[in-house]
Amino acid sequence: MGLLRWFSQVWAVTLLNLRTIGQRRGSSAATVFGVAGVVMVFVAVLSIAEGFHATLAATGSPAGVIVMRGGSDSEMMSGISRDNARIIADGPGVGRTGQGETASSELYVVVSLPKRTTHTDANVPLRGVQPAAFAVRNNIHLISGRPFRWGHNEVIAGVGAARQFAGLDLGSTLHLGENVWQVVGIFESGGSLSESEIWTDVDLLMPAYRRTMFQSVHLELASPAAFDRFKDALTTDPRLDVSVLREADYYAEQSRSLTTIITRLGYSITILMGIGAVFGAVLTMYSAVASRTREIATLRALGFGSGPVEVSVLAESLVLALAGGVIGGLLAYLLFDGYRTSTLNWQSFSQVAFAFKVTPRLLVTAIVVTLPMGLIGGIFPAIRAGTLPVASALRET
């Protein structure tokens, strides 16, 4: 058989199959929706990991550095004395502006505020900063209200925190111990972790939380290349016992465990569901072949080879799976992309507000995942169709 003729046969039979899908609406729809469900869940679960990761990855500039006490794995557990903070800010390679070094000594604590969705208390991060903090994180800008005044009991809230937790609307008040603090502004910072936080003057926050030490120094080096020299200088200084980390590394580490667990969970659930959906596809294709036994036999009697018939069944199964993949991906995108939530970051024991993120890469992966499902679902029915005994099949009613 000539190759060209073979292809024209495949084309003709496949078109015939696809055109008659409408006659097998019920079982075909079951397959499409089965696959769509799998893909939707796959995309939705992994978009949680993507979104969480993206939020932490957006935090910290290339030249950003965080200095904590040696051995600390999060700011919450760290402690840096005032004297040490001075030595750190004077380290080699720290950037400068007209107001001095771009180094901010900070306190990182949490305050219990009810989540809007569940009305149960959550640990909302509260960060005390120095004026240089706005030079270190230069992407902070207010979207409403005004900056807090230094030396006043005022705070500004990140837009993520304000959305997720009650009591952070512009003009509302926070009760921290004996003092009342007013929310005077809402800020954005390019989707970074800072948007989950509340910021205020560190010199007022320390007495309110009865602390005498800072917890970390956030600073911006003059250039990313200055990191090694800066780190060496600090870690060899006998007066200090600190760990020096690039902000990017610090935040990547913070997102690692949650991202890993969600990804693992997402893949195992998908594999299980995928197997279930493949069984559904097999059933559909078997009944498709069964309902067309005579048609297929007629085609074979007219001179169509068994190869084209087999390929056409496979193609139908692939098309159904692909349709399911596209529908599932679209549904996941419409339902979950940008869905805002927050979760507890165990490393820092505080809430991270983030949005689900359905990335193009994720959608492509999902659609690629549907192909083996269609292939496996179609292969046995295809063989059955190709090996039908023509004579007895024609006689079948």
Binding site: G26, S27, A30, F33, G34, A36, G37, V38, M40, V41, A44, V45, I48, R69, G71, S72, D73, S74, M77, S78, V109, V110, V111, S112, K115, T117, T118, T120, D121, A122, N123, H175, L176, G177, E178, Y209, R210, S257, I261, I262, R264, L265, I269, L272, M273, G276, A277, F279, G280, V282, L283, Y286, S287, T341, S342, T343, L344, W346, F349, Q351
Partner: protein
């Protein structure tokens, strides 16, 4: 029961179809079981909290400590039977990823208030007498192979010792078990050991109290909080259940979302299976008519069809649930992140109920049609 062979034969006549239908039901229920375990893990501990226990924390946030002097004042509130306290120690065992909770507690009162913690008498005695001793839960002991007598070095990220070091050594004096559902991943050591810290602050992380009558919980909550109102460390008292739920819900949205999404798909897969089951009954219209001709009553024919769909759903669903039980029996699959991980009996029973419901739902329409079948029409159609 005498119809069992007939029904079984009917299921066996299209072996491929029956097998694949059964397999997709098996997978659905396997998924259901695993999800039940995941949901339980995300709400860990909420089900096993005692109704007679209250938790007292700092009002502003849990990271702020309370003075140890509060203990005596709380104990004097009418209705309070016993008070104990705990401090979060945190720290790192060799590598940050080897996470398990470590807490400094007052051993005698803590074990009193938590009768769930089952510790052999001799190990308990040894712990009470050992200031640097600790007890470790079964899950963590199995994970790291800890045995009684081992020394566990923990690098603290909070507490510095008097000599400036930050590594604290704990001797394992006992390994405790607990009823299913109670987290046994924690290490408990004596609060007194913390007095070797460079800064002894005489402060505790939180108090747990046991009350005589859960009905008076609200009054006691109000009284305790009133006691410390307007002090520099105001308190927030809640039932242990609310306290645990609060913790679970901090991470909880995600657990709920995963459960929600996958339930939807569980039902999608069942729809696929149900569609096929209904179809296979429809194909046999002629046979059903023959049965009726032979004198089988309407009710009996309907019963046979329902029995067939229920049998398939139950056998396949039960198998799926058993597989889920097997798959979750290994405990925490994440290495410390979800310490309470098993398929609870309640969800197993719910799964069986769902299987029966599935059988009835998929069999109902064909069974109804089979009952209403007029022999003459059906035979002509076939």
């Amino acid at each position: 029961m005498k119809f069992l062979p007939l029904v079984w034969r009917n299921l066996g006549r299209r072996k491929v179809r029956t097998t694949f239908t059964a397999l997709s039901i098996v997978i659905s229920f396997l998924l259901f079981g695993i999800l039940a375990a995941i949901r339980l893990a995300f709400s860990a501990g909420v089900d096993v909290t005692g109704a007679d226990r209250l938790a007292v924390t700092h009002k502003v946030s849990i990271i702020q400590p309370l003075p140890i002097s509060y203990g005596d004042q709380i104990a004097r509130v009418p209705g309070v039977r016993e008070v104990t306290h705990a401090n979060w120690f945190g720290g790192i065992y060799k590598d940050p990823k080897n996470f398990f909770p470590r807490m400094g507690v007052d051993p005698v009162t803590y074990l009193d208030i938590y009768p769930e913690i089952k510790l052999p008498e001799d190990q308990k005695k040894a712990w009470l007498a050992d200031r640097t001793g600790a007890i470790v839960g079964r899950v963590t002991a199995d994970r790291f192979g800890f045995k009684v007598g081992d020394r566990i070095p923990i690098l603290s990220t909070i507490y510095t010792k008097l000599d400036g070091g930050r590594t604290w050594d704990f001797t394992v004096d006992g390994i405790y078990d607990a009823p299913k559902g109670f987290d046994t991943s924690a290490l408990f050591f004596q609060y007194d050991y913390l007095k070797e810290a460079a800064f002894t602050t005489n402060q505790v992380g939180w108090y747990i109290i046991r009350i005589s009558d859960p009905q008076h919980a609200q009054r006691i909550v109000d009284q305790i909080d009133a006691l410390f109102a307007n002090s520099h460390a105001e308190t927030k008292t809640s039932t242990e259940k609310a306290f645990a739920e609060g913790f679970a819900k901090q991470a909880g949205d995600i657990g709920a979302i995963i459960t929600g999404i996958v339930s939807a798909v569980f039902f999608t897969l069942l729809l696929v299976a149900g569609n096929t089951m209904a179809q296979s009954v429809r194909e046999r219209t002629g046979e059903l008519a023959v049965l009726k001709t032979l004198g089988y009553g309407d009710g009996l024919v309907m019963g046979l069809v329902l029995f067939e769909s229920c049998l398939l759903a139950l056998v396949a669903g039960g198998l799926g649930l058993l597989l889920a039980k097997l798959a979750t029996s290994g405990g925490d699959p994440t290495g410390g992140f979800l310490p309470v991980f098993y398929l609870p009996g309640r969800d197993f029973a719910l799964g069986i109920g769902l299987a029966v419901a599935l059988g009835l739902a998929t069999g109902a329409l064909p069974a109804w049609q089979a009952m209403r079948l007029r022999i003459v029409d059906a035979l002509r159609r076939a």
